[in-house]
Structures are given as C-alpha cells and as structure tokens.
C-alpha cells in the first residue's frame, strides 16, 4: 500500500479503516510487514509523514485498535521507531492505552523480550508518556510482589513480568526513582519474601535478580543488596536488560559514579604499582655473577631424608572415631578433620564393628557440625551416614525416620535425613549404583535460605527415561546388558524406610508443620517417597507400599505448592512402574479410576507446565500398562 500525499487535507480515515479491518481479520503480518518499514523510512526525518502516520493510527476505530496497536508494537524495529509511528496514541486513545499498559503486560505473556523493550522504551521516550511508564511500573511491581501471583501463576508469566520490571527500571531517571522510592522499597521487600518462599529454584532466582536490580537502582552509593545464586543464561539475560538503554537515562550517571570511585582508588594504587613493576623482574643472573668461592661450601648439610610432609593419623577403629567426633575437646582439630575424612571407608571396611555402634554413630553424624573448614564437609558427612545406614539398615532407619518427625531439628537436618534414606535405598537396591552416587551434595545456603537440592531432578530424569522406555518398547524385551545379580538387600528393609515416613505427616509439632509453612520439606518428603517407591520394585512390600502411597497422594492432591504436586505425580509414576499391574488392578481398582480422573483434571487445568506434563505421562503409562496386561493371554 503506497500512498502519495497529493493534496494537503486528504482524509486518512478511510485508510485507517482499511488497516483496522485487515488487521482484525488476521492479516496483520502481511500488511504491516509492508507498511511499517515504509513508514519507518518515510517518518525518519519528515515531520509531515509523522503526523500522517499518527493520524492514521488515531483514526482506526476502537474495535480494531487492539489488533493494529499490537501489530505495530510487534513489528517496529525499535522503541524510537515505534515512538515516531504511534506518537502519543497511548495518551490520546483509551483503548490503545489499555492495550499497551495493561493487556500486553499483565494479561498476556507470550511476547518476546524485544517487544517488551519496544513497548517500554516507547513509553519512556516522551514526557507525556512517562507518567504512564511510572504507572506501569507500579502495577508490574504490585503483581510481582503479590504472593498469590507468585504461587499460582505459571513460571513463564513470572519471567515475563520480571523482565518487564527490569526494563522499566532501566528507563527510569533519578528524580522519578526518588518520587517512588517508598513504593519500590515496600514492593521489593514483599516480593522478595514471596519469591524466596517458593519451592521452585527458578522462581527464587528470579526474585533475587529483580530484588538486586531494584536495590541497585534505589541507592547508587552505599551497600547494595546482593544475593548468592548460580548464574545461568536466564539470570545473565535478565541482568543485561538492566543496562541496555543507551544515552538517555540513569545508567550513565551510575557509570559516572563508578568512574569517579575508580579514579580515587587509582591514586594510592599508582604508588604500589610502581613498586610492583620494579619487583616484577626477578634477578636471576646475580647468582651466577657471584663467582667467588663462598664459605658456605664449608657447611656440610646433614641428612634430611626424614623431612617429609606432616600427616595426621586418623583413628583406625570405629570406637575411636566416635570418641573423637563426640568428644567436646576442641583442641585436636587436626585429628577431628582426619577422622571425618576417613570415616566412610572405615565404616564400610568394618561392618561388624559398625553394627555394634550403628545407632550411636548415626546420632553423632546427624548432629555433627562443621568445626573447621574442610572441603566437601557436607558430602563427607552424608557419605558416612549412607555407609552407616547401608551397613545396618533396620535400626538406623528406625532411628532416622523417628527423628524426622521429632522436635527441635532444623529443616536442613530433616532434609538430610531424607537424602540419606534415598541414597542408602539406592545403594541397597541397585548394585550398579554402588559407589557412583550422582548426588552432588546440597547447594551453598545464601542469606539464610533453605538450599534446594537438585537430586530430585536427576531422579525425575531417570523415572522419565524409564517411562519412556516402557511406553515405546513395551513389546520388545529388555535390551539392557545383564548385570551380575545380587540379592536385593532393599527387600527386607524397604518397609522400615517407607512406612514411618508416611505415618505422621498430618500431625503438626510445635516446630515443624508439614502441611503448614514447611511445604518445602513436604515437597522433598513426597519426592523421597516417590523414589523409595520406585526402588522398591520387586520387593515383597511393594503392594502395601503402593496402597499407602496412593492414599497419601489422594489426601494431598490439591496442595497449592507446585513442587509438592510434581512430587505427587512422580509418586504415581513410581507406583505404576513398581507395583505389578495385576496387583494394582486387583487391590486398587477404584482408587485407580479416581486417580485417572484426577490426572485428567491436572492435565488440563494445572497452572504449572511440569505438572501437566507429568500427568500426561502418567495417563499414558496407565494406558500402556493396561494394554500390556490385556495383551498377555490370561
């Protein structure tokens, strides 16, 4: 569509109508694909064309305005271009304002980052529109900091809103920040709290990145909020959004501050660096030039072959280890360190001796705290605990599961118990996993946060792979290489691991309420039960376990935390994989049907993507297992 401004007062409203109609019918891409570049060129320097363009969009009837505006925002190559094309449309037209400030930001979340940049950049480029920018920021922050939004909205939407917040922040100028400082502070505090409360590590990270950004913007000098988290592509991308804007805004003044600080620090460094440049060249040749016979040659060295590295001996007996670890003598820290490092191998090499003191050792290890800074202390302790548990499963499992529900343990300790139970079960049930634990220990805690463990992801992967292998090749035999068979040691103890954990979950204690605020531990518990269920395949207790698990899952199926729901769905997967189908159909028919309908619900309506995927897998698994059963002639 090329139109030449023949006359001076030509009416453009006809063209607007056409444009609107075409857009609403879904031909946005085609028409705007041609129109927008042309208009971009034309409006670059020509004011008249800019005016024409503005008139064009202003005249589009309201009912088609949304499509047109959306198209323009998506198509425009940059915020400044958008500004040229749309002018102050958002200020003049209510519908456009709604689309730009509300619909695209809060109600939709599928747009790319570039579109967000365009939109928010556009709002920031004109003083009339900046008030809208501030309003948008406030609303975005409200959403970001609302706990129900954090709990219930999908992760992608939260990411989108976080990106929008960061881009907004990057556009704000100093005086504007000053004016809304109080609100920024309140929303930041609330938002951080909700985000850190979440059980999903991605959401926690999002919260941390945004909070850091807000704090950075609010105070250019003085200590800034800094979280510890692992950088990954997402966080890097988010952070890059903050500093993207070129010349216009706060960012240069921040850079100026940095530069002046660096200049100040450079002066005392200059003196040092002068010195250092002198010291940089070591004087090697001096030795050679000292050709004189030095009287050192008279001094005959003594025999120094005994001079070796000092090694602290670790104790050789288990009871000695117990003495060292439980002893209150804080002096011999070297011995303590050596004991901690040597403990696992000692336990494994002396099973009989360990069995005599297993519960005591488990107790000491559960309460063991880091006395000196050893590398990998957490992992050492955990491996020792697993070694003790596998050497003497029944009493130690009884002890650990009872402690899980006792008073006065930290959440970290309770989660440790779960991890240890899982690792030991893994070792007892699968000979090939022995010694090759993939578990990499807990992450570093940051700002008194509860660390999340990635072990559940690894497990889910294994379970998923198992599901995949079952769903695709259910008629082919197992093509895996046969491993050397060993009696399944998990068989006799599976019940001791499993049932005590499931027993008291609904009984709150003063310091520990699984169904209340400690939903992180509940999530971990559920995942642990799923793994234990999975590992219990071919054990005698598996059917009873399956029944108990199904009841447990049924009671918790509407839990609000998505991590817990994911765990529950993994439980169902494990159940379907481990309990022989005949037993499921025989003993748990009604429950199975109810579960099936519940899974269908989850598949359609659950806000979390992972939950939906797991539900689908479970349904498929059920179908395939049933088919397999029917295929076998009875």
């Amino acid at each position: 569509v090329y139109f030449i401004p023949g006359g001076l007062d030509c009416s453009i409203s006809f063209v607007s109508h056409v444009l609107g109609k075409v857009c609403i019918h879904g031909r946005q891409k085609d028409i705007l694909g041609v129109l927008v570049p042309r208009l971009t060129d034309l409006t670059k320097s020509d004011c008249i064309w800019q005016r024409i363009c503005w008139r064009l969009v202003e005249c589009v009837p309201d009912r088609w305005m949304e499509a047109v505006v959306l198209g323009f925002v998506q198509r425009a190559p940059g915020a400044d271009v958008l500004s040229r094309l749309l002018g102050n449309l958002v200020v003049k037209n209510k519908k456009a304002q709604f689309v730009v400030t509300q619909k695209m930001l809060l109600l939709q979340y599928g747009h790319t980052t570039a579109v967000l940049q365009n939109l928010l950049g556009y709002l920031s480029l004109d003083s009339l529109r900046r008030t809208l920018l501030l309003r948008v920021l406030q609303e975005l922050l409200e959403t970001w900091s609302s706990s129900s939004a954090v709990k219930h909205s999908p992760a992608e939407q939260q990411l989108y809103i976080s990106k929008a917040v960061l881009i907004c922040l990057s556009h704000l100028k100093e005086p504007e920040i000053e004016s809304c400082r109080q609100e920024l502070l309140t929303s930041m505090m609330e938002g951080v709290k909700c985000h850190l409360d979440s059980s999903l590590p991605q959401l926690r990270r999002l919260g941390m990145v945004v909070a850091e950004a807000i704090s950075l913007k609010m105070s250019t000098e003085g200590p800034v909020l800094k979280f510890e988290y692992e950088e990954d592509d997402e966080t890097r991308e988010l952070k890059s959004l903050l500093v993207q804007t070129p010349s216009s805004c706060v960012v240069p003044s921040l850079l100026d501050d940095d530069r002046s600080e660096k200049a100040g620090a450079a002066l005392p460094l200059v003196l040092e660096s002068n010195e250092k440049s002198h010291t940089a060249a070591p004087l090697m040749p001096v030795e050679e030039s000292d050709a004189e016979l030095d009287s050192d040659d008279d001094l005959i060295p003594y025999d120094m072959s005994e001079d070796k590295e000092l090694k602290i001996k670790a104790p050789v007996y288990i009871r000695d280890c117990i003495e060292v670890l439980a002893g209150s003598r804080s002096e011999d820290v070297d011995k303590w360190e050596a004991t901690v490092k040597a403990l696992e191998s000692l336990v494994r090499n002396n099973p009989a001796a360990t069995r005599e003191v297993s519960v005591e050792l488990a107790k000491i290890l559960l309460h063991l705290e880091e006395k000196t800074c050893i590398e990998g202390f957490v992992e050492l302790r955990q491996r020792a605990q697993v070694a003790v548990l596998t050497t003497d499963p029944i009493p130690v499992a009884k002890y650990l599961t009872s402690q899980f529900y006792s008073l006065n343990y930290s959440l970290r300790q309770r989660m440790d118990i779960l991890d240890v139970l899982v690792l030991a079960a893994q070792e007892l049930s699968c000979p090939k996993f022995h010694g090759k634990t993939k578990h990499s220990g807990a992450q570093k805690p940051c700002i008194h946060l509860l660390p999340g463990s990635d072990s559940s992801k690894g497990w889910r992967r294994i379970v998923d792979e198992r599901i995949k292998s079952k769903t695709r090749r259910f008629d082919m035999g197992q093509s895996r290489v046969e491993l050397a068979s060993r009696p399944n040691e998990f068989n006799s103890v599976a019940g001791y691991f499993f049932f005590p954990l499931i027993q008291h979950f609904d009984r709150p204690l003063t310091t520990f309420d699984l169904l209340g605020e400690d939903h992180l531990v509940l999530g971990r518990l559920v995942h642990t039960l799923a793994i234990l269920m999975y590992l219990a395949v071919n054990t005698v207790a598996v059917t009873a376990m399956g029944k108990a698990l199904l009841e447990f899952v049924w009671a918790l199926r509407f839990h609000t935390d998505s991590y817990v729901r994911q765990g529950l769905l993994s439980c169902i997967s494990s159940l379907l994989l481990s309990v022989p189908m005949e037993r499921i159909l025989a003993d748990m028919t009604e429950e199975l049907l109810e579960t099936q309908s519940w899974l269908g619900d989850v598949m359609e309506k659950d806000p979390d993507g992972d939950c939906r995927r797991l539900a689908v897998q479970n349904l498929l698994l059920m179908e395939n297992l049933k088919k397999k059963l029917e295929a076998v002639p009875s």
Binding site: D296, Y302, M304, L310
Partner: protein, 328 residues
Amino acid sequence: MALPPPDPQFVLRGTSAPVHTLHFSCGGPEPDIPLLFSGSENGFIHVWNLKTHRVDTALDGHGRKSVYCVETMSGKDRLLSQGRDQRICLWDLAEGRTSVTDSVFTEHVGFCRCSLLKVAQGRWLMAMAARSLEEVQILELPSKTSVCTLKPEVGAKLGMPMCLKLWQLSCGPQPLLLAGYEDGSVVLWNVSMGKALSQLNCHQEPVMSLDFDSEKAKGISGSSEKVLSIWSLNEQQNLQVYKTHELVNAGISDITIRPDKKILATAGWDHRIRIFGWKKLKPLAVLDYHTATVHCVSFSDHSTPRDRLLAAGSKDQRISVWSIYAQT
C-alpha cells in the same frame, strides 16, 4: 654419606607453658654466667642459667598474660619484655633485683613483636605496633617520647603489622624500619621522615616473621604458606625479590640469622627447625625434636665461636638448645 642430624645439646624443661620467645645473653666476660631469657604463655619470664641448666629467676610482670617478646638492652641487667597485657615492661635485673622500672602501654592487642635499635649510648629506638590497626609507632627509650608514627596511606589495605625490624645503615645514622604486614607485603620505612620508601608484595598470606642482614642488604621473610621469600635492597632503596624457597610443610613462626651471617634458622609449624646457609639459602639441616609447633628460634651471642648455641622454644613447653655449625 650425610650424617644424621644432631641431637640437642640439652633441653630446658620447667616453663610449664608454651614458650613464645627466647633471648640469649652470653656475651659478658668470664665470671658472668651465660643466660637465656624465655617468655612463656603463662606470663612468666624465666632466666635460665646455661651452666646449671636451671631457672635462676622467674619474673612475673605481665599479669599472667602471655609474654611474646624479650630483649636485653646493653647487657643482662636491663631487660625489655612485651606481653599480651598490652604492655612493654623495662626491667632492672642488676644485682639480683627483679623490678619493673618502667612500662609502656601500647594498647596493641596483636602479636607483633617490638624491635629495638641502639642509636647512642643509653638511647634506643623501639618500633612497636600501636593501637590503631595499621600503624607502627617509634618511641625513643628510655624517655618514651614518640619519634614518629608510620601510617600506610589510605586504601593500602596492608592489615596489621606482623613483624618489625629496625636497623641502621652502617654509613649513616638514618634508622630504617622493615615491617611485614598481614597482607603479605614487606614495607621499608624511613623513620626520620616517616614515610615509606618501598613496598614488596612477597607473600600471599600474612608475613609471620622477617630478618635482615644490613651488610648484604638482603632479608628473608616467612609466612603461613610454604614459601620463604628472600629479598634484597638495591641502591635506590627499593625492595626486590631475590629468590624464593619452597618448604615441605607450610607455616613459619620465626626466622633468625646468626650474628656471623653464615647460617639462619627457621621455626616451623611442622615442629621442625630448619637450618639454611645464608649465602645461597642452601638447606643444611632439619632438626626434628619438638612435638608441637616451634614458636621461636634464637642464636646466642657468645664471644667464642665454639660456644655458640641455637635455642628453640616450642608449644610443647620445652626449650631445645643445639650446638650446630659452631666450628666455622
């Protein structure tokens, strides 16, 4: 075929506390008994008679707080001691007296030993770590007047001074100070002008101890890591690293060069005393007697070379005395 390392000539027991500092006073003419002063963690300074190998006197002047530095000032009658009670005490030990004649309240809560330099008859300069974290104060004794305060510039981040050595060029009266700091650097200060001449970053960890040979303008420093660093001072008064020596085990508490500048001894955290030749830092011996960290080593000032001794004090409460390379 190298000989096995020698055993100590004798061992002094009886301090009943870890020994932190030692100082010999054996230079006096014949009727004078050679003495060894030792400071322990229980606050006592023991005066050992090296003929009888027994304690002659025990001085209690630091309120049972650890004594970490003892030095004599022109002979055995005047003693200076520094303790963790934040005081430096001056003792009068002539004719059997055991009294504290004077004391300086340093307000220093660290472990930095002070350093003495005799500048004239009856006058000394003493360098000590002061109250403020990075400063070194120079006092004149016995008047206790402050000569100057050596402050590193703002932002230098040297940390606490860990060890000090005052010395003087033989050609001129200008006193200079070498200070090792917590960040691993050694700084050369000009005391009269009060400013730093040169700084050398020779360790990654705090400099635990240093010693300097003013004739050869070469010094050595030890730290809590495995490296000994030897540095030299060139004509422009700049410090440069001359060489480094890697030890088997990390940690050095004390280094001292023998007065004849032929050998030096290091006290290690690995319970061992190491002897090196000073010229080329050739390892000569490893003396393995103590069963805990060796805190200090000291060479005696005997006038006859044959009688020269080396003493080492350790956390195992014993002082081992060795006669090693005394014949050269």
